[in-house]
Amino acid sequence: MKRYSAFAVAREALRFHSGWERAWRSPAPQKKYDVIIVGAGGHGLATAYYLGRNFGIRNVAVLEKGWLGGGNTGRNTTIIRSNYLQDPSAAIYEKARGLYENLSQDLNYNIMFSPRGVMMLAQTHHEVRGYQRTAHANALQGVSTEFIGPQKVKELCPIMNIDGPRYPVLGALWQPRGGTARHDAVAWGYARACSDMGMDIIQQCEVTGVRQSGGKVIGVDTTKGAIDCDKLGVVVAGHSGVLADMAGFRLPIESVALQALVSEPIKPCMDVVVMANTVHGYMSQSDKGEMVIGGGADGYNNYTQRGSFHHVEETVRALVETFPIISRLKMLRWWGGIVDMTGDRSPILSKTPLENYFINCGWGTGGFKAIPGSGWGMAELMAKGHSPLTEEFSLDRFKEGKFIDESVAAGVAH
């Protein structure tokens, strides 16, 4: 693989870029792989990447029914943070955030990680207490956060109306090394690196069945034929239930639509990411200048990638009140994605009733920020059979009542 650099770009410019090779190969499937990952989104590709990088497992295929990175990886609001309350969450999200710091260099692909800082506004006394609790927890978890007062909030984000008549800003949980990244680039960067390790990324290849023998998974049927494997990792946000059904088990998951939108681009006016959970909205400004906006999810099962307009309305209403200047910006694009909501709104990274069938799903509204950590933990789980990062996220917790509930600290698991 030719390395990317400013020098390479300059060299190619002189010959009108005729020398750039494919970012990833597009091979036909082999008969058998050591590991098959179903789903070439960020999480699936990251799992494959760390299987190769950390465990030397490179005879890997990543199957994708559409185009790689075409699901939720390319449909989210690109926020990266790890200021979670519960230990297992903080561990995996902070692992991810830490890996994001160096991901561009690791992958030799600029994923544009921008640690511009993330703040979660406290607009009720209850939220103040919740975020103070989170700040205490984060200090022990090795996550660098701070509870800041309203004046600091205003300094960091001058366009915010902190004295709204309805919910004045009382403070915020501030994570200075949280931020954003370019979502497509994360998928593309991992894909390029996987392909470079000799892994096969097979697009337009839908899994139609899970083959098993003696309680173990032995392969999959696909639209490109049957493919054998020793281990199977299913990482298909939004469609996990369907893949579980193929293996004969059910999941504590419901799939719902989550929506996001962007404004037309304007010159830079906001240097941080702001999440306002009391009024249900969050916003940041992309490098292109668009205000990137997200809000709440629908409450009913839906596979259409179209949500209901009233959620957009609620979110925009909240943000116009919080950031009055956006009233005269225009909504440019609006889209929806299908997210998996689990019984406790935390993800599942787990073995399953079918041996050698591993599942990574249920990221709900918070998947993008976790991609590197999730891939890291999942790779370890698949290679070694256990991983401290994924241990608490097992399927068994729903039987035992051992939930990982992030909503407790007034926060929501975006």
Partner: protein, 999 residues
Amino acid sequence: MSTRLSAGGRLIDKSKQISFRFNGKHMTGYAGDSLASALLANDQMLVGRSFKYHRPRGVVASGSEEPNGLVNLGEGGQFEPNQRITTTELFDGLAATSQNHWPSLDFDVGVINNSLARFLPAGFYYKMFIHPRPFWKHVYEPIIRYSAGLGKAPKDTDDSIYEHLYSFYDFVVVGGGVAGLQAAKTAGDTGARVLLVEQASNWGGRAPVDGGEIAGEPVDNFVDQTLTALKKMKNVTLRTRWMAAGIYDHGYMIGYERINDHDPSDTKPRHRLWRIRAGRIITATGAIERPLSFAGNDIPGVILASALRDYVVNFGVSVGDRTVVVTNNDDAYRTAITLKNAGLEVPLIVDARPHGGGALADEARALGIRVETGKAIAKVHGAKRVQSVSICAQAGEGAVLEEVSCDCVAMSGGWSPVVHLWSHCGGKLLWDEHEIFFRPDVHKPPLDQDGTPFVYAAGAANGCFGLDELLQDAATQTGAATGSKKTPKLPNASPRAEAPIQAVWMMPQGAGIKLRSKAWLDFQNDVKVSDVQLAAQEGFESVEHAKRYTTLGMATDQGKLSNINGLATLAGALNADIPQVGTTTFRPPYTPISMGSIAGAARGEIFQPIRKTPMQSWHEEQGAYMEPVGQWRRPYCFPRAGESHDQAVIREINQTRNFLGLLDASTLGKILVSGPDAGKFMDMLYTNMMSTLKVGKCRYGLMCSENGFLSDDGVVARIDEQTFLCHTTTGGADRIHAHMEEWLQTEWWDWKVYTANLTEQYAQVAVVGPNARKVLEKLGGMDLSKEALGFMEWADGKIGEFDARVYRISFSGELSYEIAVPASQGLVFWNALLEAGEEFGVMPYGTEALHVMRAEKGFIMIGDETDGTVIPQDLGLHWAISKKKTDFLGKRAQERTHMTDPDRWQLVGLETADGSVLPDGAYAVGTGKNANGQLNTVGRVTSTYYSPTLKRGIAMGLVHNGPSRMGETIEFAKVDGSRVPAKIVDQVYYDKDGEKQNV
């Protein structure tokens, strides 16, 4: 130069001159002008700079598809960036500035010239700026951010108003052109409710500009007559300046009405967002012309042929004196003919088709216009303005045959039906090989809640051109939508009579890389033919990948001009058919809509409801410091002049403990549960045994979710044999009422129980403190002595003149009466208590004093000690969990292994050695780290306050094995890393035996 013609301009009123400013320069136009036409009339061809390379940009279109003409419009509270000049109607005093340049539009230091642009191809930023690591955030990203963006961020708060409207129609017809008018007429004739909308301010669409006849008369006459007929129909509503922004499931539709954008001095709402339920939607949204891809097609002066025609016919404006027309279809000949008839020069028509055009070509030739077939533009010359074009053979690689001097190039690459609305809700598209465009696939339409088609495309939007064909299609599609068998009688209309179009995706066909890297696809985002080809070369084969990699179609025009050309270029690069490569998903809105309109009227005072108690006005008059609790705002404390909130809280507590306090407890939920099975139901709802509660008595109860976690608490009063009154927390009233109804309606529907949420029927006041009884006795009425009304009893009666229900319950540990009176009497009752209580030292207190006093008593608070992960057993509330009952909500859940784990953290009191207040939310640190390197914890603080009663910090917390570790000291970590030792103690700090409350 561009200028105003002496004749023409069907939309402008030359008797009404309008003055406006552009970049500070005073200009004039006429009523009816768009900002674009007015700027062109003032020879302002250069209107902006492109996004990436900051190249000079001129007007290229005449409608909402315009990618270049974007300005900062207005000032102060009416400032708005990125306003499209082609859809901005001119008004007196309009002030606009151009965008994305520094220091000026004419001279922009940010411009990236041709040789440099080569170093910034599609996706260059993914390949660069990787090292050194901190440079991305601190150096590269800021530069990119400042050069990107378009308009300026507004500084002031929007001073316009917005509103919403719900509306219901059997049929909505989108588009006020010939097809839309005919569709509305056909639908209206059935008697159904019809809404006909047009995004522009005028009716008729393109046809009046394009010519042709209906019933032997000019199209304008048809438009006028049909409008007149529609206006007479009571069942038809007509709206202009109304854009169908999006179509959603189940016939939901968003309409964007721009009420006073064209006259901001008016006090009307600026925008109105219509939320429509439509039975059927007919999209007669017309078509959009495509540019052609040739080198230099982005130089100001290169314009769509149809747009040029619009400017001449509608506004009497010429873009240039000498216009070369370049085309792959017949329609562009209309522009040449129009120009010629307006007295303008057309030195040449370049027709890429070897055999040229049909009747229109003949007509052009007859006017003396030179036509060259099989030819192409090799290159446009000029910088900020077209100077000349080089002509070559379309079939070749661009060898120049001749150079033609000109100051305008009119291009036409064919037309694309506007299929956006069709696609929003799942309608599929077909590639039409013959016409070279995507058209709606009528066999795969959007489906409504009944699984039946609900969107119909008609006219040009359905791929029908030619007035006769288009009228027929409008009637046919509307007939299909209405299900009416009646075929309307349609007038004769001009047929299309055009020679076939020929696909031309690059001009010339064999253009080399140098030409391809100067042939623009997306004018705003600077995406060229070579960029899309590079994407394909690098494996970005899906249209979604290519779009995202190159940013094609992601600009504020949403790719209206670039999508199809980009797609075809990609297909060419992949050597695939266009339908194989597919098309991207069209999403609402059709054109960008203001955030203000989405938010609507709900801002400021009516942003969100604020619930108010009957005594709220008194609290506000006293200057109470309020805290939001759910939708309520409750007084946190009542600070006096010069007093901090902390000081006020201490004062309120001391006064209440020593004399008399009043709390507005009206927000507490009060739910009536009544019926023969009420006792059985209460036993399922609460962990306690409630069915045994005696009439006249009160009992504190706990409610759990079916998942076992503590969800609410409160005092239950038994009103009669069949009736209970359940108090809930402030936030719990609606939630718990819904919870009760859910179980009654969906699980135990044969149980005879009714509930009613009476929360707002009553004002409730807690009268608390040693003098509580005295003040009530002073008011007179019912007997409230210890004997008559014991602790945890209730009674109905009169207090003074007030009808009251009195509960003798205490959340503070003091002698306390909670008194409910009808809400309308609340404020009078409150004032009566204040007046009568004066001699007893009465003082209102807020929620913080309430919290501190309950903590001194060791009472738990829902939301403090509980957080959705806590079960009653964690809080030592075993006494409130019935052992006798075989079932209650949450019981099974509490039997799961993790719930019965002896290692669960349990509630205790916590005391610092120095009397300081423990930090809120602090965790107790254990030994070592877990497998993820996090410090192990053994407990956490759930409530922590300064207790004025004990004059020291007090706290409660959940601690591992807490209750069996009394007296032990554990360490809590502060956020700064330091540790605070605290002793584990009993959490009841004050009057453990309850002597004070039971007097």
